[in-house]
Amino acid sequence: MATVHKHPVPTDSYDPKRPLNDLLVAQLAHFKHIARGLATDDRNALPAEPSIDNREGIDRFIAAITGVHVSRKRATPQLVAKPVRRTQTVGLSLAAVAEETPTKNKPAKSNSRAKPKSKVKTDTRGPKR
């Protein structure tokens, strides 16, 4: 079949100041909602919440929040790569020791507490990818 030609898109179609449609208004509301739930450090690094008619401000705000998530994404494998294996080995040996000598229970418990639950959860996801 012959090659099909697309319509050229005129450059004057570009209008970054076009008023937000309903979708973008909702998207902005969702990003504001997420921003309010971010950790204080992350939230403080964001641009101020933009008004609905501040297109450039909205772009910066959304990009910044997306950036927070992207940076977490990069950090995830580093956070979890190590503990997956160690958890099994160390956990087993500690458990074995604990059975033999109950007095060593405390260090074992504090070790596992030091590992935030969320990291372990992320752990299992990391290697699968």
């Binding site: 979708l23 772009d59 997306t66």
Partner: protein, 406 residues
């Protein structure tokens, strides 16, 4: 097993914004009678009762301002023309009247919601219309809800919108998992590709916030195609707004949401298709579904179907304060019909699929393919009972006559 199904490794879904089937593809019926489009005799009333013909006068931009309303109550009006009686039936003729109510005072542009693109005129859609006629077009793919974008997109990601019929922030009940989480748990791969950080994703609350590893940008998608590293399942979000990239280059919105330029969306569709089509390692084993999330307030002639009770989740109901119609909604009716097409060299060219589909068919199909023993208790009844579309990979030999775009 048909060879196309045997070869299938990747499912790619592109979901665009807010155009009805008839608006984009209704004109095709004249030359392609398998397409359930328009006869040329259709007309709907305006607020005076005068009948306004459906005409092939749609323009690529500049015509749909203000954006036609498509919240739940407005769509209800479009479907039933304001009839709220218990015995009402969908007449699909309230589109102009509700647009006139939206525009004060009434102006002739209210007729624009009844305009469609053409096949042969200067206002044709060479990419979308070629794909619809050269591959398989769905004659009965409906939005999952007679309402706006976010609740409809939720059906594509989770198989339900969980009581929601609007654009509000909502969270997913813990019993349910997104299709991306399910695939990951099953050892499969998936990604939701948003356009870029500035356009970003619409799934920020439930997915991007917590499942960042399942996301990529559109450039990541293109790179994955080139590196033959596409995930098992890819969902692509278009660019939602005109903005500059980091080098100052102009990036046009590609979502085709009114009143963004439809031609930019055509270009976007062609870019995705070409990237897969021109890669000999992907084309034989990749299925591309192009679908729109909802109709955006634009006319379509096919009455919206009521769902059989066996397809309704009894636990979900949208209350009258959410529907704004004075009535609750039990998620027992689909939204307005939208364009949808299935693209693969294993699909019969020029075919039309008559069965009923909706956005829950997307996670249903992906689950069927990649997690065949998935526990139905962990997904909605809507999704578990939705039609799936892999059976349309019917050809015994791969087509070699598929279109190219430049």
């Amino acid at each position: 097993m048909p060879p196309g199904l045997d070869a299938l490794r990747h499912i790619v879904v592109l979901m665009l914004e807010n155009r009805s089937f008839d608006h984009m593809l209704g004109c095709l019926k004249t030359k392609h009678p398998q397409v359930d489009g328009l006869n040329g005799t259709e007309a709907i009333p305006d607020s005076t009762g005068a009948m306004v013909p459906i005409q092939q006068l749609a323009e690529f931009r500049g015509q749909l301002l203000p954006d036609p309303h498509h919240d739940f109550a407005s769509v209800d009006y479009q479907i039933f023309n304001g009839d709220t009686s218990p015995t009402r039936t969908p007449t699909m003729d309230g589109f102009i009247r509700i647009y006139q109510k939206q525009q004060q005072p009434d102006v002739p542009s209210s007729h624009h919601v009844a305009f469609t693109f053409s096949e042969d005129g200067a206002n044709n859609l060479p990419v979308l219309q070629t794909l619809a006629t050269e591959f398989a077009v769905f004659n009965r793919w409906f939005a999952s809800i007679p309402g706006p974008t976010l609740c409809n997109r939720a059906f594509a990601h989770y198989g339900s919108s969980f009581n929601n019929v609007g654009m509000n922030v909502f969270y997913i009940p813990s019993r349910f998992k997104s299709i991306y989480e399910r695939l990951t748990a099953a050892g499969r791969t998936s990604k939701l590709f948003y356009y870029d950080a500035t356009s970003s994703s619409l799934e920020v609350v439930n997915l991007l916030q917590n499942e960042q590893v399942m996301f990529g940008t559109f450039q990541n998608f293109l790179d994955a195609c080139d590196a033959n590293q596409l995930p098992d399942y890819s969902f692509i979000e278009p660019n939602y707004k005109d903005h500059a990239d980091s080098n100052g280059a102009m990036l046009l919105a590609t979502d085709q949401h009114p009143d963004n330029d439809v031609r930019a969306g055509e270009d976007f569709i062609a870019t995705i298709y070409n990237r897969i089509r021109n890669n000999a390692n992907l084309w034989p084993n990749t299925l591309l579904l192009i679908v729109y999330d909802e109709h955006g307030g634009l006319y379509d002639h096919v009455p919206t179907p009521t769902l059989d009770k066996s397809r309704v989740d009894p636990e979900f109901v949208a209350q009258p304060d959410a529907t704004q119609t004075g009535q609750p909604f039990y998620f027992d009716r689909l939204g307005v019909r939208v364009p949808a097409m299935l693209i693969s060299p294993w699909v019969q060219g020029g075919s039309a699929i008559p069965d009923e589909f909706e956005h829950a068919s997307i996670p249903a199909t992906v689950t069927e393919r990649f997690i065949p023993n998935f526990d139905n208790r962990q997904r909605s009844i809507r999704e578990a009972t939705a039609n799936t579309f892999l059976q349309y990979l019917t050809l015994d030999t791969m087509r070699t006559d598929c279109p190219d775009f430049d």
